[in-house]
Amino acid sequence: MARKASPARLVIALSVAGVLAVFLLYTSIAGGGNPSLAPSELAGRTGDVQLAGLVVGPVRGDAHDGGLRFRLRDISGESKTSVRVLYTGSVPDLFKVGRHIVVDGELRKGTFVAEPSSMITKCPSKYAPKQSDSST
């Protein structure tokens, strides 16, 4: 080969290596994300998880004073198990009984203690998901 090898390949190889290095750095520092679970899958779990479920009343308490208390059950409706949730912090507009919500937190002595202000509401099936039901 008389042609001098193009540095393009070198550049691409180095860049790919760089991207991989950044990725590895991230996974080693931050670890993975949190598992997303339904209330029926929660029993016996420790550590931070994301809980997605349907709000079951009654809703009691004050989110900014002692915490809001309600129960969550599976959205799919196949399981009737529900879990007690204690929630503090900001409550999205769309929160109410019958709505789908997602909260982060962990199970402590049978109660799911949510991280403050971690609640996200998802619109019920009336609308296909749109930006509106994402973050509130």
């Binding site: 931050a30 949190n34 598992p35 900014h64 507009d93 296909a128 930006q131 039901d133």
Partner: protein, 664 residues
């Protein structure tokens, strides 16, 4: 009326299938009249889709609740403007909008280019037809907007947060962007199929790509602004899958717009460009799929959605077919030139491309990770905000820096010494800005400080370029300075429009860094007359009022705002309770400082029966630069999009020089 809509869609499907089959046969066999007929079918399919769209629009405006779609998305009390926006508020309507824009763009792009690139166009037509066949099929067989029912007394109404002027512009702009990316895709695939792999497909689609890209960009910023002022949680971007759905194709298109210049100028990166176009289009489809199928929540909801599996299958077919075709044509895509040095304009553009792509793929990975982990491990793992923030910094900050370096570095090969001379001033400015900011206390966030320093560097290069160019034009005989400036831009719209867009991105970076790295928040429960402080602001809760509007009860708290000893007037924050929809929405109070771009952002989070309110207050420095960046972005895009005969002639001449006879 619904029969007319259904019939129109059926005819559209027939025309699309005809354009696909006849167009492919005509192109393969070289039959000119058949090709012409396929083109006409494509144009006609726009007309029939328009009829279907008119029927749906008519039903919406008449509040004809015998249309299931109308009953599900609107109500009698809904203002007319939002009744129109219900067209794209639901799944079926937005698919119809997709098809309408697609057939319109297809008809226009084919008609405009069939004169000078006929041999290319004959293959472009069946590609367009294939895409519109898919959408027409969905609308006819899977998700018909013309399903009927016994009309209920009133419709279900529209989610309150969608009852907003932004929803008139934000979704259609995103659709213009998504669908617009079909045009470069169809031309790229057409070029591959026809083996006419010269630069003409790039020239024919450059403005379409720019337009789609600009629409996506503006659409996203409008969406962010909507989230900021309407959704009222104090942010503007949450890395939600449906937000990422628009960002990913935008990033891919940004990479493409840059690497195209390398192919035009040096004939390099041909395979890469085709791959980027395929990626951008696939991501546009994927984006529509994400927002419309419900798959974002979980794999389980995916199976409940009727269009989800179809969409996924179509994306798979598009990717497999396109990649196979590229692989098959690789021998014809060899570049006549190659990269000469890792320090050159070409190399800088290549780094830019790799970084944009890395960011895009990192986001894609974050979006699909819950689904993949659910499929593999039976448990969905969600990657949170920190994941995305990390990659935005890791890939975004170097990109920001490259934005200053790339446009100024020499083609082919640059010496380190020449770089030192070129970047002497910008580096000085950046270092000075960094030191001053550090002194002012910006060291509290290192990524924020780095972003500011890089931004200063890029702005300095842009100012330098404009100054140098204007001076040169003045020396070449322009009589006045403004005249020299105007002639500078009009003589090279692409370059200087590009700089304006770069300036917009820098403003965006400054706004994002300021509002996310240097913001502050305070919370307090206040009874009437009580006060709270945040930064040097003092807020006093004065009164609470209730009033009824057409479709909601509005509750508003009034606060007096002071800063130091200056009285800044009052601010209102509260909630709207929507009657029909039985929903409550936060109505935040925002006070923008015109001089510093800082916002005071007040949320009345919880209003107790005794009138006391739990307030959450943010101070967001420089956040208004983000919205201003949107305007600058629009101006820059318009400059590059403005028709420029001289440049078009130059490009056509260069394309024909490359060797393929371009029929004028």
């Amino acid at each position: 009326m619904p029969e007319l809509g259904r019939a129109a869609l059926l005819v559209t499907l027939g025309l699309s299938v005809y354009a696909l089959v006849a167009g492919a046969m005509a192109a393969h066999l070289g039959r000119r009249r058949l090709a012409r007929s396929a083109q006409n079918a494509l144009v006609a399919s726009f007309a029939t889709t328009a009829v279907a769209a008119a029927v749906l629009l008519g039903a919406l405006l008449r509040n004809d609740f015998s249309f299931t779609y109308v009953a599900r998305t609107t109500s009698e009390a809904l203002p007319t403007a939002y009744t129109i926006s219900a067209f794209w508020g639901g799944q079926e309507g937005s698919l119809l909008l997709w098809l309408l824009v697609l057939s319109g763009f297809g008809a226009a792009a084919v008609s405009l280019n069939r004169g000078w690139a006929r041999d290319l166009i004959v293959w472009v037509v069946p590609v367009f037809a294939a895409v519109s066949t898919f959408f027409a099929f969905l609308l006819v067989a899977v998700a018909s907007p013309f399903a009927t029912q016994a009309a209920p007394a009133d419709g279900a109404g529209m989610t309150p947060s969608l009852q907003n002027p932004y929803m008139l512009a934000h979704p259609p702009l995103l659709y213009l962007g998504y669908v617009g990316l079909t045009v470069p895709f169809a031309f790229a695939i057409g070029a591959l199929l026809s083996r006419k792999l010269d630069e003409r497909w790039l020239i024919a689609t450059r403005r379409w790509t720019l337009f789609a890209w600009a629409a996506l960009g503006i659409g996203q910023l409008l969406g962010s602004h909507w989230a900021y002022v309407e959704v009222g949680w104090g942010g503007y971007y949450a890395w939600d899958p449906v937000e990422n759905a628009a960002l990913m194709p935008w990033l891919a298109a940004t990479a493409f717009l840059h690497s195209v210049m390398i192919q035009e100028r040096r004939g390099m990166l041909k395979v890469w460009n085709v791959l980027l176009v395929i990626l951008a289009f696939s991501l546009a489809l994927f984006g529509t799929f994400l927002t419309r199928s419900g798959v974002v929540n979980s794999i389980h909801s995916f199976t409940q959605s009727a269009i989800g599996p179809w969409f996924l299958a179509f994306i798979a077919v598009v990717v497999a077919f396109s990649l196979g075709l590229v692989f098959w044509r690789v021998p014809q895509l060899r570049s006549p030139t190659k990269l000469e040095s890792p320090i050159s304009r070409e190399a800088a553009f290549l780094y830019n491309n790799l970084l944009l792509l890395a960011l895009c793929l990192a986001i894609l990975w974050g979006v699909v990770y819950p689904l993949l982990s659910e499929a593999v491990r039976g448990e969905a793992i969600v990657l949170g905000r920190s994941y995305y923030d990390f990659f935005l910094r890791a890939f975004g900050l170097p990109l920001l820096l490259l934005m200053g370096i790339g446009p100024l570095i020499a083609w082919r090969r640059a010496s380190l010494k020449s770089l030192a001379t070129t970047f002497r001033w910008p580096t000085g400015v950046a270092l000075l800005a960094g030191v001053v900011l550090l002194f002012l206390g910006a060291g509290s966030s290192v990524p924020g400080l780095v972003a500011y320093t890089f931004s200063a560097f890029v702005l300095a290069t842009i100012v330098m370029e404009f100054a140098r160019g204007t001076r040169a034009r003045k020396a070449l005989g322009a009589t006045t300075w403004p005249g020299a400036f105007r002639s500078l831009i009009s003589r090279n719209r692409r370059r200087y429009g590009g700089y304006v867009v770069h300036a917009a991105i820098v403003m965006l970076a400054i706004g994002v860094a300021g509002s996310s790295a240097f913001d502050s928040v305070a919370e307090a429960k206040l009874a009437k007359g009580e006060s709270m402080t945040i930064g040097d602001y003092l807020l006093v809760y004065r009164s609470l009022d209730e009033r009824a509007s057409a479709n909601a009860t509005e509750i508003r708290a009034t606060l007096d705002v002071r800063r130091g000893d200056r009285d800044l007037g009052t601010l209102q924050a509260g909630k709207n309770a929507y009657t029909i929809e039985q929903q409550v929405s936060n109505e935040v109070g925002i006070r923008s400082d015109r001089l510093t771009g800082e916002d005071l952002f007040v949320i009345a989070e919880q209003i107790d029966p005794d009138g006391s309110i739990y307030f959450r207050v943010f101070v967001k420095p420089l956040v208004n630069l983000i919205w201003l960046a949107g305007l600058v972005f629009l101006v820059g895009s318009l400059i590059t999009l403005w028709p420029d005969r001289r440049e078009q002639r130059r490009l056509v001449a260069r394309a024909s020089e490359v060797g393929i006879p371009a029929t004028p």
